[in-house]
């Protein structure tokens, strides 16, 4: 049944008896034309686009736990476009755009809202780095604007210039979008399932079966399933799953923490980035302040963070927003990121025929629709779209890295 205000009203009268499963709970068939490992936003999206754009509907998505239970469930919902490397700038600008009509396309309200992002610059060096980023990304259509202290004060009336790192200005980035993260998985699952894709939860892939010609199937906790095209869209364990196919990925797994306050009435529209403190925060639709900073300083698979990161994050926020002193920290969690050597994703074919990967988005939530679309395209056509050529696994053989952090200020 279509999701609409009308049907909601009709079902309201009928006590909501008529709603059916958002996605079918399928049991695995013997064979599929394509299988995607990983039932998060990226994997479900890839399955959806295989069915929708490439007419390949005999597809299964295999999820080890519950749908969207990985980094789709653990992120800060922010979709931004402030990358400096041409390949990144091009891809992320297109990625932001790929969200705009997603809710109506999938007929699932992902609560996509344009919030804007205000970066608080706290030194001339920040300002110079920001100008450099703006100068490059302008070519690719990203909108960024340096704002002076007065405009910054208007946007963030509660901000106070700290003694230690006084505010010198800001960058306003209107394109930034937020989305209800869990809904992304659900929306794709429902739409894919409607097109015939089998979504199989609690199904762990334990091995990848190959012959001389490439992938022939997967071994799972629910038995063997055959396929000649296998896509991988997992986070946190990408290296280990790829290793099952004999593919070595240059990935390190690092926790990224986030935390929320108790919910309050809306007072902050923008996403705020405190450049000098490497910290950001925003207010969710529910009213919680969602806060985060950098990754933990060492790799770990533990999905819970050390306490010093929330403390440092909140201390930084209080420097600029001292009135939040009596806000309440409510909950912390950690996602585990697969980071490549250059922090850029790998959306690529591999040396094993029929094995395709979309991994290591390093905060890959923001690219979900586009990466999934590109992954599906890659699986269907066995060649990368020009948008993702730079994200090939091959770049680690040629050294042609997309090392964003090497160019945006050497910190």
């Amino acid at each position: 049944m279509k999701y609409s205000a009308l049907n909601l009203a009709w079902q309201g009268v009928r006590n909501h008896r008529g709603w059916r499963r958002a996605w079918r709970h399928a049991t695995p068939k013997k064979a599929y034309d394509a299988i995607i490992i990983g039932g998060g936003g990226h994997g479900l999206g890839a399955a959806y686009y295989l069915a929708k754009k490439h007419g390949i509907t005999n597809v299964a998505v295999l999820e080890k736990g519950w749908l969207g239970g990985g980094n789709t469930a653990r992120n800060t919902m922010t979709i931004r476009d402030n990358f400096i490397y041409p390949d990144n700038a091009r891809f992320h600008h297109a990625a932001v755009k790929s969200w705009h009509t997603l809710s109506s396309e999938l007929n699932f309200n992902m609560m996509i809202s344009k919030r804007g992002m205000t970066t608080v610059l706290m030194s001339d060096r920040d300002l110079s780095d920001a100008q450099r980023m703006i100068n490059t990304t302008a070519l690719f259509g990203a909108e960024h604007r340096i704002i002076d202290i007065e405009e910054l004060q208007q946007r963030l009336p509660m901000a106070v210039s700290p003694a230690r790192l006084p505010i010198v200005g800001g960058v306003y980035h209107p394109d930034v979008v937020m989305a209800r993260h869990d809904a992304v998985a659900w929306g794709y699952a429902r739409a894919a399932s409607n097109l015939g894709v089998d979504i199989i939860e609690n199904c762990e892939v334990t091995d990848i079966i190959r012959d001389a010609k490439g992938v022939t199937g997967v071994e799972t906790s629910l038995g063997n399933i055959l396929t000649r095209k296998l896509g991988m869209a997992v986070a946190g364990h990408g290296k280990h799953v790829a290793a099952m196919a004999g593919v070595e990925l240059p990935i390190e797994t690092v926790p990224l923490q986030a935390m929320v306050s108790t919910p309050v009435k809306p007072f902050l529209d923008n996403i705020v980035v405190l450049r000098g403190f490497n910290t950001y925060f925003m207010q969710s639709d529910k009213g919680e302040l969602v806060m985060g900073s950098g990754t933990d300083p060492y790799p770990s698979y533990s999905q819970r963070g050390a306490p010093q990161i929330p403390e440092a994050t909140i201390a930084a926020i209080l420097q600029v927003f001292p009135s939040l002193e009596r806000m309440q920290f409510m909950r912390q969690w950690a996602g585990i990121l697969d980071l490549t050597y250059d922090n850029s994703p790998i959306i690529s074919k591999t040396e094993v025929d029929g094995f395709y990967i979309d991994v290591a988005g390093s905060g890959g939530f923001k690219t979900t629709p586009l990466a999934a679309m590109m992954h599906a395209d890659l699986i269907a056509n066995d060649r990368p779209d020009p948008l993702i050529e730079a994200y090939s696994l091959e770049r680690f053989s040629t050294g042609r890295l997309i090392l964003e952090r090497a160019s945006y200020g050497n910190r």
Partner: protein, 992 residues
């Protein structure tokens, strides 16, 4: 108005002498010292204290502790604070609080309309609508957001102090109820260092509001004795109003102390490292899921007892109890004993303990077995209930009451155990989750293990305390458990949802987020079966209370619906914080200049006093970008400084440069391996430029290394990367080449570096007086000498970053300012000009000296930046060699550093500007070839009187003389590619 209408004439632990006036929702009331806001409101007969999140239903006080789901308030005044549970907020004089989430008032809330239309707002309704017209969530969202959220964010800073305190102890005991106190007693008597924390204002836990007896005396007298004994123990620290909020790795527990006795600290976050932890966190009573179970006047049975016995407040005039277990009978009896009329006990079971039934009957309480509550009458306050016999269509019966106690069993507070890494287990008998195996050095004791009788709690605690102390090396004798009142087992019959009378009836499983059993059923029907999915879809358990009382009911209901065991469904993940922590306490004293320390050189204060425009330029140094004269613009200042260096003389504070002393017999081997060039032939007293790579071929750093003695070298590094370089070198030495006899010592802070540069530099040094011959023949470019200058011992070197004749003095940091001032004095006649780092950047751009951080990136190698001349052709392996040879073998186009001369000599190519082949801005992916590079830095050169830039251009070295285009948003300007050196190409000036 009658004061405190519901206060009992006697009893309770409140101090009736100390009357406290307070305000709630603008009305004035009084309470007593010892009250919480909740008990004071109840004493004053206030029953509606808040409105629910989604449906804005009137809500009353549900509990007497941290598990409160309804009574959240905004504290007003100078210390405004949102979302505080009234049940844990001690009443203070003048407290002014307001209900959250109600407009215009808690008694008349227009948001209530959503309740009338509730059937159109099921769980996740927003996922199904607000998409028409196409994707206008932005528009709808602004309204939805306005109704979301609870209190309001404070608008003013109170500037209060918060602090962190580190505490190490043998035993941390969380919970000061009977089990925790017993544990503290036995651990304390052993001599172990004990920290006991409890989140209430007094120790005693549930006994504070109970009629139980220990050793045939009221339990509180045992508590008082124990607390007194603990207070007398020098190694025991007891903290009340202190919640353990997070349990992290290695027995690291954070404890928030809410009102420390020291007045200057508002809150204190304890960071406790304990060798052993005892969790005696108790249990939380759970509500029963029945129709309209959220009405004001419906309360947890134990909470009603607590209000009555601890606070001397009658929670209602006429009560009834709805239960599924024997344990709760006690509360009905306690209420009856305190003079509350208890009409009936409605028990879903048929096998209630006969003795209890008799006792109840003796108190005039009717016990109705095998029945449930089928209807609640009264919207703002319960007026009556209707009950029905279970399983039959038996006729309903109405019972008048204004207080309905509920008890659906007890949930052990396993949050901290779960945070410690433990996996909760489902206990069939108790129909709840109990702690699983300990993962860290932790044991649970008392009610939080599912042991609900007082005797068990005490003996658990005594044993646990003795065990953990002993494992820390403090053996002690067994303490005999005191005798206590007999208590019965719970003998509980789980009931996850009482049959609903009508298809539009609602029973709440999460009061805080307004989630009903129908929402859970809908979630299951729509496929959100995993408890994590159901939670996220319905938001059950995600509210202000984080599901403390409701979560097990949700799991049980889901088990019922899907016909699985609750144990198979499992809990959702418990995450810190157990109860919220203020931002101030999280940050502690990390504020102001302490948040990130900053470094100064001996010249920093001079710059501050003399117009230096200071900025953070790496490695936490604040350095001047330029030193402006009064009224001078940044650009004018930089131009003046740059002209002075090229035509007269400048002086520069180079102290932030990284300096690493390298000693040992293998120093040359080491330098050969970490630099791209050869170091074998460098004589003592000479220096050499070196380039250092990462092993992946990227540029790491460049700089000059001096040979000071046979086995002593001093390496200089960029200031920003000094720490990175040290790590790089130390790791290689310690982990890869431990056989090398080389010792590194970072000496950056020990030496001040002052550089005099420009054609007149030699004259200035002469005037400052030095004891060495500085004539060009005697003291050549790249020479280094020990000398005295201006009466100060120094080392002076002829090295440069500006391309001019330069003398770089290195003196102990404490002499830095003296030398600086002496050189300024000596240079007065030549108008010696202090220069900042922006000027230095301009000068190096004119000379095209490479900055690894700007011209380097994730791809460029040493040849790309034109530094191939620093690579030794005939030497063994060095760091970065293999990756560089890979690039050479692969061939193909390379991003090479070139110079740019814009056609418009006033146009300064901005940093980061794309370089295009054609003059159109075609950015489609297929046209990516159009972008052939990027400007790395651009300046207007006052010396050349035109704009110049360095840029990375695809195969740029072979395109010298070509014209390309620099893209900016406002215009595209063509520029000619040139050799990347604009000034003094042969370097004659610096060798002068």
């Amino acid at each position: 108005m009658v004061e405190q209408v519901s206060r009992l004439d006697a009893g309770g632990r409140v101090d009736r002498v100390q009357k406290l006036a307070f305000k709630f929702n603008g009305r004035s009331y009084t309470g007593y010292a010892g009250d919480t806001l909740a008990s004071a409101l109840m004493a004053n007969g206030v029953s509606v204290v808040g409105r629910s999140f989604k449906y804005h239903r009137p809500r009353g006080i549900m509990s007497a502790g941290a598990e409160e789901t309804n009574a959240f308030v905004q504290i007003l005044g100078s210390e405004e604070e949102p979302n505080v549970p009234a049940t844990t907020l001690p009443l203070v004089k003048g407290l002014d609080a307001h209900s959250v989430n109600a407009w215009p008032s808690v008694n008349f809330d227009v948001g209530r309309v959503t309740d009338l239309l509730h059937r159109f707002f099921p769980a996740g309704f927003y996922y199904k609508t607000f998409m028409w017209p196409r994707d206008r969530w932005d528009w709808y969202g602004q309204f939805i957001r306005r109704v979301a959220g609870w209190g309001t964010a404070p608008k003013t800073a109170a500037g209060k102090r918060y602090e962190h305190r580190y505490h190490h102890c043998d035993v941390l005991i969380v919970g000061g109820g009977p089990a925790g106190l017993a544990a503290a007693l036995s651990a304390g008597r052993s001599g172990a260092r004990v920290l006991l924390v409890d989140n209430q204002s007094e120790f005693g836990g549930y006994l504070l509001g109970s009629s139980a007896e220990i050793n045939a005396k009221p339990a509180m007298s045992w508590i008082t004795d124990v607390v007194a004994e603990l207070d007398g123990m020098p190694e025991v620290v007891c903290l009340s109003e202190a919640s353990a909020t997070g349990y992290y790795e290695q027995n690291f527990v954070t404890v928030l102390e809410r009102r420390p006795d020291k007045r200057w600290v508002r809150e204190r976050l304890w960071k406790v490292r304990a060798r052993q932890v005892v969790l005696a966190t108790g249990a939380i009573e759970r509500p029963i899921t029945f129709v309209d179970n959220d009405r004001p006047g419906i309360m947890l049975a134990s909470a009603a007892s607590t209000y009555c016995l601890r606070y001397g407040v009658r929670a209602g005039r006429k009560a009834a109890l709805f239960t599924n277990n024997d344990g709760s009978y006690r509360h009905a009896i306690e209420l009856a004993d305190s003079g509350v009329d208890v009409a009936a006990i409605i028990d879903v079971r048929t096998n209630a303990n006969a003795d209890l039934c008799k006792t109840a009957a003796a108190k005039g309480i009717e016990v109705i077995l095998g029945s449930h509550v089928a209807r609640v009458i009264g919207k703002r306050r319960v007026r009556a209930i209707e009950i029905a016999a279970s399983g039959t269509g038996a006729q309903r019966r109405k019972i008048a009451c204004d207080l309905l106690l509920v008890s659906g069993g007890w949930n052990p507070t396993i949050h901290l155990h779960s945070q410690s890494g433990g996996k909760p287990l489902y206990d069939e008998r108790l129909a709840t989750f109990i702690p699983g195996a300990s993962v860290q050095k932790e044991i649970s004791a008392g009610a939080c293990t599912g042991h609900f009788t007082l005797a068990q709690c005490l003996s658990d605690g005594l044993l646990a305390g003795r065990q953990v102390a002993e494992s820390c090396g403090y053996p002690s004798d067994t303490i005999d458990a005191p005798t206590c009142t007999d208590e019965t087992d719970l003998n509980l019959q789980p009931i996850w949802e009482v049959p609903l009378p009508h298809r539009h009836s609602r029973a709440f499983v999460d009061f805080n987020n307004d989630v009903t059993t129908k929402d859970i059923r809908l979630a299951e029907r729509e496929g959100y079966r995993s408890i994590e999915l159901a939670k996220r879809y319905t938001t059950a358990g995600m509210g202000l209370d984080q599901g403390k009382s409701g979560n097990v009911n949700i799991i049980g209901l889901m088990a019922d619906i899907t016909d699985t065991a609750p144990g198979a469904i499992g809990t959702t993940t418990y995450r810190p914080a157990y109860s919220p922590v203020s931002f101030g306490a999280m940050a502690g004293a990390d504020n102001g200049d302490l948040i990130i320390p900053w470094r100064r050189t001996p010249i920093t204060d001079w710059f501050i006093a003399n117009g230096g425009h200071l900025d953070e330029t790496g490695a936490l140094f604040r350095r001047p970008l330029y030193i402006a004269k009064p009224g001078e613009s940044a650009r004018d200042a930089i131009n003046r400084e740059a002209l002075a260096v090229r035509n007269g003389v400048g002086i520069y504070d180079g102290t932030p440069l990284g300096k690493i002393s390298i000693k040992g017999s293998d120093a040359v081997t080491f330098l050969d391996r970490v630099y791209t060039n050869s170091w074998g032939k460098l004589p003592v007293g000479r220096s050499k430029f070196g380039f250092m790579l990462h092993d992946d071929g990227r540029l790491l750093d460049d700089g000059v290394t001096f040979r000071l003695a046979d086995d002593h070298y001093l390496m200089s590094t960029g200031s920003g990367v000094a720490a990175v370089v040290l790590k790089h070198l130390e790791k290689l030495l310690h982990c890869e080449w431990p056989d090398l006899d080389v010792y590194l010592t970072p000496v950056s802070d020990q030496w001040a570096v002052i550089c005099v540069c420009g054609p007149n530099a030699r004259e200035v040094i002469r005037r400052a007086e030095t004891d060495i011959d500085i004539n060009p023949e005697a003291f050549k470019f790249l020479d280094t000498r020990y000398c005295r200058v201006a009466g100060i011992d120094a080392r002076v070197s002829r090295v440069t970053y500006t391309g001019e004749l330069s003398f770089e003095f290195v003196v102990p940091t404490r002499h830095g300012l003296n030398l600086w001032e002496a050189l300024l004095e000596a240079g007065k006649e030549y108008d010696i000009t202090p220069i900042g780092s922006d000027t230095s950047m301009l000068l190096r751009t004119e000379k095209a000296f490479i900055a690894a951080g700007l011209e380097g990136d994730g791809y460029a190698n040493i040849y790309d930046v034109g530094m191939g001349w620093v690579v030794a052709k005939n030497k063994g392996d060095f760091i970065g060699k293999r990756s560089t040879s890979r690039d050479i073998n692969l061939g193909g186009p390379r991003p090479e550093i070139v110079g740019l001369l814009p056609e418009d000599s006033n146009f300064v190519p901005p940093k980061g500007a794309p370089i295009l082949e054609s003059d159109t801005a075609d950015t489609s992916p297929d046209a990516s070839r159009n972008m052939v590079g990027m400007v790395t830095i651009g300046f207007h050169s006052p010396n050349l009187q035109r704009s110049i830039a360095l840029a990375q251009v695809q195969d740029g070295r072979s395109r010298i003389g070509d014209t390309i285009n620099v893209y900016t948003k406002s215009r595209v300007v063509s520029a000619q590619i040139c050799e990347p050196v604009f000034f003094d190409p042969d370097g004659e000036r610096m060798r002068d």
